[in-house]
Structures are given as structure tokens and as C-alpha cells.
């Protein structure tokens, strides 16, 4: 039992800070989630991480249900619940508070600078996340090629994008 409890605590310690820094939505956390669950804590094998990523994206709901799956692999149903709350609650509270503050600042120099300043960091994190999943994916060059083709298609025809997959996941001052 103490072992389980420790795993749950580690899940909280890993996901809460990530939650607070999820600029650009949950997908920006992919790189670190891969690093933590495959490399640091061994909660999943590389193959499992790639498959769980796919499952989390195939299902409805917020895009980073991946956290729930990692928690589930690490510590069963309790882990799934703990990881979900640890990932969503802190950033939700920040958004809740920031929404009020941010509205007051709208139009100020700071408001614009924070928005424009965070965008390239979020962009870099999203690209890193894609790279991280490709790295653990066992599909080899074929999946790299498929991912690049998908990228080009989505940039060309933005309407292919699912609205719910858009940036508006949990946080990001850009959405407020």
C-alpha cells in the first residue's frame, strides 16, 4: 500500500507543476510527459506511451486525457483520477482567477506582450511534443512520413481540424 501511495504522490508532484505551465494547452506538455513516464519513472514503455497517446487522442474529451492513462498505468484507477485532477485542477484555478484579471488588462501593453511573448514558447513546446511522441513511436520512418503529410494537409486545409482539438483546451492566456 505505501508503494501505491508513493506512486500517487509522485504523480501529483510531476503533474501539478506541468499543469501550471501548460501554455498553449495540454498538448504543449507532451514532451515532458513522455520524458517523465518513459524515461524518468518507467510508468510506461515507449511502445505503450505511443499507443496510449493514440488512444487518448481517439477518445472524446480534453486532448490530454493522456495524463489519466499514464496515471492508470502507474497506479490503476486511483492513479488515473489523481493524475487527471493534478493536471487539470491547478491550471483551471489559474484560468479562473486570470480570466478576471486579464479582462481588466485587456488592451494594455502588458496584455499584448504576454500574449505575443508566450506564443513562440507554446509553438516550440508543441513541436517538441510531436517530436517526443515520434521518438517513442515504433512505426519507424513510415510514421514520421505520415505525421509530416498530416501536418501539411492540416496547414493547407484548416477545416480538417476538429474544433475541439484546437488550442482551447485548458489554459493559455490566449484563450481568455
Amino acid at each position: 500500500m505505501p508503494d501505491d501511495l508513493r506512486t500517487l504522490l509522485v504523480l501529483v508532484v510531476v503533474f501539478v507543476p506541468l499543469s501550471l505551465l501548460s501554455i498553449g494547452g495540454g498538448a504543449s506538455l507532451l514532451a515532458d510527459m513522455e520524458h517523465q513516464s518513459v524515461g524518468v519513472h518507467g510508468w510506461t514503455t515507449p511502445r505503450e506511451f505511443a499507443d496510449l497517446f493514440a488512444i487518448s487522442r481517439a477518445a472524446p474529451g480534453p486532448g490530454t486525457m493522456l495524463a489519466a492513462l499514464i496515471g492508470w498505468k502507474a497506479a490503476g484507477w486511483a492513479g488515473a483520477g489523481v493524475a487527471t485532477v493534478a493536471l487539470y485542477l491547478p491550471s483551471s484555478l489559474v484560468v479562473y482567477g486570470a480570466a478576471r484579471l486579464w479582462g481588466r488588462w485587456r488592451g494594455s501593453v502588458w496584455h499584448a506582450a504576454v500574449e505575443r511573448g508566450l506564443a513562440p514558447v507554446a509553438a516550440g513546446l508543441l513541436l517538441s511534443g510531436g517530436i517526443a511522441v515520434l521518438r517513442v513511436s515504433p512505426g519507424g520512418p513510415a510514421i514520421w512520413a505520415a505525421a509530416i503529410i498530416a501536418t501539411v494537409l492540416l496547414l493547407r486545409w484548416p477545416r480538417l481540424r476538429n474544433k475541439s482539438d484546437d488550442l482551447g483546451e485548458v489554459t493559455s492566456c490566449r484563450n481568455i
Binding site: 499507443d51 474529451g61 503529410i149
Partner: protein
């Protein structure tokens, strides 16, 4: 969440969050359970690889769309490249990287905003 708050106050916000999170949670973990039962099938791996490729493409496309356009884009592009290098290639932990680069990037945007 904001809708829940508007309709029913704080309790509404909490209910909205719980409903939004735990509904999908059961579906996703249910799918994962099914996957562990039949995960040995290579057809399933093929399907999952396909979904993963599309989802990675979506992530890439979203990231590329966030890149700045117009004038004065060199600085932001450098920040984005530095982020990819540190987190994506060198695999440094994301949190210290963001804590260093985000203030830098916001400062840069502030300076550029003043000059514009």
C-alpha cells in the same frame, strides 16, 4: 467552466469541471483496458499508429500556426527554435526551460511593442 460558473456560480463551475473530466476519463481508461486485453494484435497497433500520426500532425500544425508572422519575427522565431532545441532535441525538462524562455520572450515582445 466559465459557462458553469455563469449559470450556477462556483458550484456550477465545479460540476462542469467534474463532468468534463470524469466522463471522458471513464471512456479513455475503458479503451485502454480493452487495448491491454487485445493489444497483441498487429492490426490494432497499425490503427493506433495511424491515429498517432494524425494526432502528431495536428500538434505540429497547431505549433506552426502559432509561429509569428509579419515584421519583427526574428526574435520570436529564435525563441521557438530555442524551445524546440532544449525540450524536443536535447530533452531538457520543460519547466526550467519555460521559466527561462517565457520571461525573455515576453520582454522581447514588450520592447518590440514599444518600438512599433
Amino acid at each position: 467552466m466559465q459557462v458553469g460558473q455563469r449559470l450556477r456560480g462556483s458550484a456550477g463551475a465545479v460540476a462542469a469541471v467534474v463532468g468534463l473530466l470524469f466522463g471522458p476519463l471513464f471512456i479513455v481508461v475503458g479503451l485502454a483496458l480493452a487495448y491491454t486485453r487485445i493489444g497483441w494484435s498487429s492490426a490494432i497497433h497499425g490503427v493506433l499508429d495511424g491515429i498517432a500520426a494524425a494526432a502528431i500532425g495536428l500538434t505540429f500544425a497547431t505549433g506552426l500556426k502559432l509561429l509569428p508572422s509579419g515584421s519583427a519575427r526574428l526574435g520570436p522565431l529564435a525563441v521557438a527554435c530555442a524551445t524546440v532545441l532544449c525540450v524536443g532535441v536535447l530533452r531538457w525538462p520543460m519547466i526550467p526551460v519555460v521559466l527561462c524562455l517565457a520571461p525573455l520572450s515576453i520582454g522581447l515582445a514588450l520592447v518590440q511593442g514599444r518600438n512599433a
